[in-house]
Symmetry: D2
């Protein structure tokens, strides 16, 4: 695993738990974790259960005892590491977003295509796909439970920027973070929409907004370009993005990604309306899925809250008896299950780098639309979901 921040902790749980709860077709060993600070990464290795730590990722991806490279570094290093790892013949799991730019993402997708020909697998880490209720949502749409998709509403709402006194962290500066709410949490709802509907976003109209435009400089100046004497600095990324997409079947999908939804902590919601029914999911109630069946008898219709904790539900039987709740990090175990399963079966796991690229292209189109007064803007080469 390359990287050891918050995502490193979450991926480590996945690697640690998946073999203990599921019957994986191949054994998994947590060999080495890589980071630039030798002491810190050694400490992370010990804490999270990795056998070794290292500081040079290039050396590690050259090792013979490494089969899979899991990339959890910031987005601006994804392309370089992933391409090198694929070329070294390692299967790659890369945390989202695939990259900070479309160009990088394209290079990665091409590298993945070349690697695929040699039996090397690649996967991007949109783990919310693997919340059982989200997988069930996808399955039910694909089985026709709601008929033709006619409208989608997806939102990802947080509130950690509401406080105007929150300092100007590196995540709020474009040169360091690449993007704001759009790239970070907007990417999730674009991927989820495409995943559950099986439809691509083909064009968009949208607006990026920076609600609090200046923030106090951090005391230690960390990550700041300005000098320490100044009191305030400019926020140069969006903190809210509101956009609408046209899906490949013509349906409209509306999106909101914001860090200014006061009181909403991590509220990813999606509702898909079809001509035979509707399905709705809320990450703050992640063990349930709501289903409206328009073919039920008149006067008996309504949203059914399916508690997605039954053995019949995706991934659930490996965990606890019916009615026992799963949480945030279970998706990381499911990701490992699917990746290792695909490697063993010789198939390509999802989401592929192509799917990651597709999300980047939608993000890019939203940025271009926003710069052009919200005019409808085409997404480059959209690819239908496979």
């Amino acid at each position: 695993m390359i990287g050891y921040g918050f995502m490193g902790a979450a991926h480590s749980v996945g690697w640690r738990q998946a073999p203990r709860m599921f019957d994986l077709p191949r054994a998994v060993e947590m060999t080495v974790v890589v980071g630039r600070n030798a002491d810190a990464v050694a400490s992370a290795a010990e804490k999270w259960g990795w056998a070794e730590s290292a500081t040079d990722w290039r050396e590690v991806i050259g090792r013979d005892d490494i089969d899979i490279v899991d990339i959890v570094t910031p987005g601006d290093s994804h392309a370089e590491i992933a391409i090198a790892a694929l070329e070294a013949g390692k299967h790659v799991l890369c945390e989202k977003p695939l990259a900070n730019t479309v160009t990088e993402a394209e290079a990665m997708a091409e590298a993945a295509e070349r690697a695929r020909a040699r039996g090397i697998r690649s996967m991007v880490g949109f783990t919310y796909r693997r919340v059982p209720a989200v997988t069930l949502l996808r399955d039910m749409i694909s089985e026709g439970a709601i008929g033709t998709v006619q409208q989608v509403r997806a939102a990802y709402r947080q509130d950690w920027l509401v406080d105007p006194d929150m300092p100007l962290a590196w995540r709020l500066q474009k040169e360091h973070a690449g993007s704001g709410a759009l790239g970070d949490i907007g990417a999730h709802i674009i991927d989820m929409t495409q995943f559950v509907t099986g439809l691509g976003v083909e064009s968009v109209t949208g607006t990026l907004e920076t609600i609090v435009k200046q923030r106090p400089l951090q005391a230690d100046g960390s990550g700041l370009s300005g000098s320490a004497g100044e009191g305030f600095g400019e926020v140069t990324v969006d903190d809210a993005a509101i956009f609408t997409g046209r899906l490949s079947n013509g349906a409209l999908a509306s999106f909101e990604a914001t860090r200014f939804a006061t009181g909403r902590k991590n509220a990813l919601t999606i509702e898909v309306s079809g001509d035979r029914g509707a399905l709705a999911f809320d990450l703050e109630d992640l063990n349930s899925l709501r289903f409206y069946d328009r073919t039920a008898p008149d006067g008996r219709q309504g949203f059914t809250r399916i508690l997605v904790t039954e053995p019949q539900h995706p991934y659930v039987s490996a965990w606890w008896p019916a009615g026992h709740m799963l949480g945030y990090e279970h998706g990381f175990s499911h990701q490992v299950v699917d990746l290792v399963g695909a490697i063993d079966a010789g198939t390509d796991p999802h989401p592929s780098f192509d799917e990651g690229l597709r999300v980047q292209r939608v993000l890019d189109a939203v940025e271009r639309s926003s710069s052009a007064d919200a005019v409808w803007t085409g997404v480059a080469s959209p690819v239908p979901a496979s």
Copy 2:
């Protein structure tokens, strides 16, 4: 009362109940209801408790024993009737939308302005303002409970057009209905946003959509321009409208008005985020208001579900003890209370015709934006809320 459709029934409940539950400063008499079909309107008069019925509205507005004219006809006749009534010196209550066009609405606002100088009052019927929880929402924002408004999300979702076999009624044809989901239910969420925030929508970007573009002609051809022999006709109004507005303080408000939200029957929702808190309302749970107080102690914050059925809440003390639910039609009584109160006090009731005009101008800007590929479009002469 001119008109006797569904809205006539609702307004009649208001006129009948308000004097019985509230202490009005003046007595109210339900004198006469007017409609074109003499038998039908006579029957409505008897059923709903009007003393007389009549077929000529011009004659009625000339009568000396009439003080208030309540207009519940379709939108295309509002301007003519309202202007005539105001000029005849009658106070006017006009159901929303104020008119089908901005031009008509402007003429009405001017007539109201002239009448005001003579002590004649006018009011447009956005009754959802008078759901106690909505009034409380407005009061709390105005008291500073959520600080500065930073984002608004408003939606009005219905599903009665999801069935593709639903025939092509007059409401789905532009020449008869003027507008679709935007003008009918979108108008409500625009007014509510402006009402509760005290801010005007100054520019918009939006998309109007007709999801089912052709529908079966009605068997009896009622309201159809096409001949009876054809099987299908074109739907010429929008059935979904997705738009974003810039408020007068710079905040963004996102809107959805749709008749394709499968499973949602009459789901008007609004959530207002501020820098000190948030407030959320859902018409399907109309007796409650959710309030997030960001100034509460850390670790104790959350959305509080205020049951708006206490005697301290707006309008509630006139009804039942704490905890007893109100319903849809209570707003029509509250409308009467406020109108009669204003007439007696010699003040101007709200929403004024100016406020109705302002909503029409926003609707018009959305239509223009939609025609121009969603580009940001200014609202004509927005007026700050008074």
Copy 3:
């Protein structure tokens, strides 16, 4: 109508609205309201729309122009008035509880039986039966939607006695009120349980509790037996009742009636579990009913929230379009609809005085059980639901 307190206001709405919203088979005239204080009752008559007022109920029930006597006085006068009215050949609607004692209730049921032979109808006012969702709950059980009833949980929770400084009102003294939470709100959940299941409560075990045992005497001494000099008086009725009943099919039903459920204002809830499904209702969300269908496919089961606002639902079509909420007082209109319909059809309306008596006998058994250390205690002559 005899009486003009809070219940008088609610019954008046029923009499006033029902003929205006429903097609009643007979015309209804609000002739006269009766009370002891001539000025106050005259004022109520004018306010609520009764043609006259009077102070002598005996005289009124002798009038030829009176067909129906509606009794909304305190419970200790129900028996005398109702029996006299029935003997005078008037149809009687009597607010719940039927009486303060079983003996009185028996006499009333006997009087109703004699009157029935002469075509005179009687009905007791458990209006919560007529909330559309509750009627639907009953219909669905009777259609077999949940199979055999195996467990019932019913609760009525309020909190208006939580404040220990609330003074010792007459309702808290046994000599004036007869009973406390048990008789007032416990009666509702017993009736509702028997109504929706069609089963009788045959025996009970229960505990009555007075949580705050002393309260400040009221400043004006109203309704107090003690002298004004004392600071505190004894609360002599229960303020919480917890009991369990055995239903006629052997199922257990658990009940809680309390005025100490802090934060719960008028929270009547019921959940019925059967071997094929379950149904749940909550008066704080009175426009919905939750249905669990155990015969739905595995992995797709869950509680469906049926919004009981469709034209197919009981009583709803007379009101507003789908999705428009009803409130507390609508049940009073439905009560009038059913009573007038039964009178016109020559059938006996429900709940009958027998059903009201049955509730009193259950209350009495709970009191006897509580006095005997909660030992299981039989209900006198339970009668199966008709």
Copy 4:
């Protein structure tokens, strides 16, 4: 760890995750898991990450490299193993219920008392105490957030016995299981009530019920005393228990433990009403806690849904950022954290064996009350919560 069933899997997650997510004061090694079937336990050891497996628990508790014995066997073996382990100087974590009988539990509590004198710690595994929202509930009551506790309602509802065709498993036979719903899930709500309120249950009135009295014999006869030829056997344990307890401050607590709540999978709920507020928890929404503050301003009161996923909340900061959900098994990690912390600090962890014994005595009193027609029955030697 002795035992390797479903609870063994859950405890293993706790031992595996706690050191990886929390900063424990001492290192934890998963040394050996013990079971009677050598192959099966070896397989469990490998799967769950235990270094070794063994078949003789007596030998294992004698080993010098063992410091803690974790007992997850069925209840009838708890006493023998726990007492032996304590006498061997090992700290003991024993899964709930502490034992199948009061006598056994008393012996265990005495052994724990003796061991405590030698610095040996013991703890019983009511892990629901360690759901962050439940710990917060306890903390808030103890800080006075709801004032004096006046009423408690606790329920644990499941539905896995609703199907009458479910065969007669060993858990449904008294000679094997000891108790039914009461002992298994009723124990949880008794412990939780005592834990969060800090009050003991001093007397009870209750009824045990076996709703489906006969069930099909299992095909393989496993766990059955009857011969294979018979078609049906008797269910000899309760499948529903409804009881009321008197707490040590005089408040009433009502309880329901049932496996016949159709549609409820693992629905543990508790609501505590006090004179200054109320707190409510639902295990199906385990990341939240609802708080009603009666000292908030009039007209602004309501239940606040606190999302218990902030760093300020108990245990949470070791996991994920604010708003990320935890699940069922996290409590097992928290249990390890608290146990290891107490061992290191030289303090006694909770719940102690005394607390486990107290729960057993309440269960015993409920059984005795049920056998005596529900008469109020004292709990032996209740001990106030420490």
